[in-house]
Symmetry: C2
Subunit: 206 residues, 2 copies
């Protein structure tokens, strides 16, 4: 659909999605009505309806938009995290961002999955596709490391990419609930140590 | 309040909470109305209101009930996981349970935090207390291991308990979204390997 929009149409659509993302971060999906989004985006009801004919369509577009973005906003996509240094820098940026976010809430793929997971099958499929895309990007990074001999031959890359992704999600969930960055820090430390344990030679220390 | 109820009153209250928990597992908090709960529990409106005067009160009681339960239902509380063998058995039980649950949804502290986290401060505080209680139980287990010399002196127990808890939460979230046990398996493998890396001597292999 986006391909058929004019540049102005695309900008309007993006403004609506941006407003929805910000409202969901603060109020959750259940607490965000299309009328709130319409007002925040400064568009008419018929404009909103032109781009998204239901709340469900809007939420699915928010999911797709967040899946297209980097898992840690303003940080590199997961396809470029192809060294221990890059992975550590990415983890530090995630922790830093959590620290700054403190209490404001978030509208990431993880928080959307947390709220929508059980409720509806279309959203679940969209969220699932998003996570799998992140995982395949991360796998490409880990493959580059394995090809260069920084990870042992035969290392199960799926296992490592899932350990990193679940650490980001579980750590963020607990850090947001506890308003404390330590859960995210511990989760990412554990996942990075696990990745490092597959390095040839000394695999004990990250 | 529960202390002042008769045995029959306690049973009714528990029946309502059980019905709410099952509905929330399938439909989420937002999708579960008090009227659904009333019907499922087979009580009158005035009975429901007698125990829970709002949906908010009901949800907070569900949170407290789930925080009192073991993080992995039908498995030991976290205060008794005081050996590498007990931790591994607990992780395997969590994976096994996820496998059986496939797609049915859940009403755990983690899934409640995922749905309610951003939305309301009372729930966030209840959820936070629940996670901290689990963490302190887990810390007691890890302390016993450290006292017996199974973990090195000076090991940061908070870091390890948070790594285990976030692995359970992040792994469950992705496994439920992807309908695949591999994320939970990878998350728990990574966390257990991290705990094991603090054992004296060879800390590389779980």
């Amino acid at each position: 659909m986006t391909q058929r929009l004019t540049r102005k149409g695309q900008a309007t659509r993006e403004r609506i999605l941006q407003a929805a993302t910000e409202l969901i971060a603060r109020q959750g999906v259940a607490g965000t009505g299309t009328e709130d989004v319409r007002k925040a985006a400064g568009v008419s009801g018929s404009q909103l309806y032109h781009y998204f004919d239901s709340k469900q369509a809007l939420i699915r577009a928010v999911i797709t938009r967040q899946a297209d973005a980097a898992p840690v906003p303003d940080q590199p996509m997961m396809g470029t995290l192809d060294s221990f240094g890059a992975l550590r820098a990415w983890a530090d940026a995630a922790i830093e961002r959590q620290e700054q976010n403190d209490g404001r809430g978030d509208c990431t793929l993880g928080s959307l999955a947390g709220e929508l997971g059980a409720a509806d099958e279309d959203s679940r499929a969209d969220l699932s596709n998003g996570f799998l895309r992140w995982q395949s990007l991360l796998n490409a990074s880990l493959l580059a490391m394995r090809d260069r001999g920084e990870l042992r031959a035969g290392t199960d890359l799926d296992e490592l990419s899932l350990a990193l992704l679940t650490a980001l999600q579980g750590g963020s969930l607990l850090s947001q609930t506890l308003r404390d960055t330590r859960p995210l820090r511990a989760a990412l430390n554990a996942a990075l140590a696990y990745v490092h344990s597959f390095a040839p030679g000394d695999g004990t220390k990250p």
